[in-house]
């Protein structure tokens, strides 16, 4: 069976790749895959540039087989799809996507769209977090995986979540100097989460292996640690923290990897008509879908861009979204495969609730930040600036606060500070987090170079000036 509808997939990580595979296998013949990266794999299975020679085992460790399989799957589809790499999708409107890539700005129509946009680190600001040498955990990992570099000569990893231990382990293994790991989560929380974590014994064991490896190398691991300030004038010089017993310490370091989990990249789905829903246990807004990835008419979503589930869940969700799309095209659904995916995803979802409990986001620290701490790093808006705006104007929701204080109005479009801003507004005004809303996605979702827009406009003006048809000026 051949399917001629124009299908566009945005993202080619675990979710996007499995969606593409499923669609091509079912006979879709007009499939376009768009990605900001030069090669497939997403952030987790990100490939190194041409000319690098480390093998998959070195790059992806215990996940090397999964990574290699996913890369091979995408590469084998090269002849069946149109692939646009290093291309940003910056808007979706009226069944069209707006891109900016090597060829400038383009507008592509689609019949159906699969969004597999992934996630970025969830951060928590603290004094000094904008200093050179502070990177997200994901950013620190990319420096190593994609560039074979460490982010500094003496690195402290701070935050919580499985990525914290994974990146610290990868750094230590690659020969970097890991000074310490500071985990905001307490040991007791992890112990309580054990029954659920045991639902995925292999993943649980892997986390323990990373920790043991770090301990054996003499890397101190502090659980229940609270980072107080990153010190330094022009770059990172140290980190002050309080340990679980309440004692303060200062570590000498020149780089910090910081991250407290992940936030879904859901701006494009929102522009495409998707609705968000508040998850109280994660304190996050996620995409609302029908259980199979349908978020709006002809729009499907999968992976960490919907809700944080990790790479294994993303692969399954990518396949499931593609099956939903095929079912909507009238192709008989493979019920047994859907059931199988459903069962595996429920098991992994239960494991994920264990992770969320073991590595809870320390939201209460936000309201306790000093006034001087920078909240919006794009435009240097401090916690004090935001508190003043809240006091003066009593905004009821976070988009209003953004307009008043400019926090979230910068180049990152509130990706980094938006959730923090909402937490601060909720805590300061004594209201539940879900009532203050979330920053709306706006096009362009990432900045476009002015020259790209100018060229586009120049062409349009030239065409109009040189056209033979003369239309009356309205």
């Amino acid at each position: 069976m051949t399917i001629g509808e124009k299908i566009v997939i945005i993202g080619n990580g675990p979710a996007g790749t499995r969606a593409v595979e499923t669609l091509c296998r079912a006979g879709c013949r007009d499939v376009t895959v768009i990605s900001e990266a030069p090669a497939s794999g997403g952030q987790i299975y990100r490939r190194q540039p041409p000319g690098f020679t480390r093998d998959a085992k070195t790059l992806y460790g215990d996940d090397s087989d999964k990574a290699s399989r996913l890369h091979a799957t995408f590469d084998a589809l090269a002849d069946d799809i149109a692939s646009r790499s290093e291309t940003l999708v910056w808007n979706i409107l009226d069944q069209q996507i707006y891109t900016h890539g090597p060829g400038g700005i383009e507008i592509l129509p689609f019949d159906r769209l699969v969004l597999a946009t992934g996630a970025m680190d969830r951060v928590l600001p603290l004094p000094g977090w904008t200093l050179p040498g502070v990177f997200t955990l994901g950013g620190a990992q990319i420096a190593l995986k994609h560039q074979c570099c460490a982010i500094g000569r003496a690195v402290v990893f701070v935050g919580t979540g499985p990525l914290l231990y994974l990146v610290a382990y990868q750094y230590a293994k690659a020969g970097a100097n890991v000074v310490a790991v500071l985990d905001s989560a307490r040991f007791a929380d992890k112990a309580r989460a054990l029954p659920r974590l045991a639902l995925a014994p292999r993943l649980l064991l892997r986390g323990l292996v990373y920790r043991r490896h770090l301990t054996q190398r003499g890397v101190p691991i502090h659980e229940g640690a609270r980072p107080l300030a990153i010190t330094g004038d022009a770059f990172v010089a140290g980190l002050r923290f309080r340990d679980a017993a309440g004692e303060e310490h200062t570590l000498i370091c020149d780089a910090i990897g910081l991250g407290f989990g992940l936030n879904p990249e859901l701006q494009l789905a929102e522009l495409a008509g998707g609705r968000t829903v508040f998850d109280a246990s994660k304190r996050q807004w996620l995409l609302e879908h029908d259980g199979e990835g349908r978020v709006a008419d002809r729009i499907y979503v999968a992976g960490d861009g919907v809700a944080i589930g990790g790479a294994d869940v993303a692969e399954l969700a990518g396949e499931r979204a593609a099956l939903a799309l095929l079912a909507d095209l009238g192709k008989a659904a493979d019920r047994s495969r859907l059931d199988e995916i459903g069962r595996e995803m429920s098991r992994l979802a239960a494991f994920r609730t264990g992770l969320d409990r073991a590595f809870a986001y320390p939201a209460s620290w936000i309201a306790e930040q000093p006034d001087e701490t920078i909240l919006c790093r794009c435009e240097n808006v401090t916690f004090g600036d935001v508190r003043t705006a809240i006091r003066r104007h009593s905004p009821q929701e976070v988009n209003r606060l953004k307009a008043l204080a400019r926090s979230g109005m910068g180049r990152c479009q509130g990706r980094v500070c938006g959730a923090v801003l909402a937490e601060l507004l909720a805590a300061t005004s004594g209201r539940p987090l879900e009532t203050v809303g979330r920053l709306r996605g706006q096009a362009p979702i990432k900045p476009l170079p002015y020259v790209a827009a100018a060229n586009q406009a120049a062409t349009a003006i030239h065409d109009w000036m040189t056209t033979d048809e003369v239309e009356p000026v309205p």
Binding site: L131, P132, Q147, G152, A234, F235, G410
Partner: protein, 101 residues
């Protein structure tokens, strides 16, 4: 590689050094890099900042390294701007890390 203690870069190379050499200019200074380095990597192997915040809060050197946070935009001498973490070095690139007076 000529590198004095006070001229040390932020990043440290841990391997993969047999790639083709590429020469770029950072603030007018010729800096040897390797093919496949991002501009962010090249700048941070050479120094400790990518730019100075236009909002008066000091130097910046990127943050997310995956094209999301937009902290690492740098200027080229030609006047264009590039996101350093998603741009790869090319022979002849001339990058500026400081605001011109």
């Amino acid at each position: 590689m000529a590198m004095t203690a006070n001229r040390a870069g932020q990043f440290v190379r841990l391997g993969e050094t047999s790639r083709a050499p590429v020469l770029i200019h950072i603030d007018g200074e010729a800096v040897p890099c390797l093919a496949g380095d991002t501009v962010l990597t090249a700048l941070l192997l050479h120094g400790r900042q990518l730019r100075v915040s236009e909002f008066g809060d000091g130097p910046r050197a990127g943050f997310c390294n995956m094209g999301a946070c937009q902290d690492c935009w740098v200027s080229l001498e030609s006047g264009e701007r590039r996101r350093a973490c998603t741009t790869y070095v090319q022979a002849g690139q001339r990058v500026l890390t400081q605001e011109r007076p």
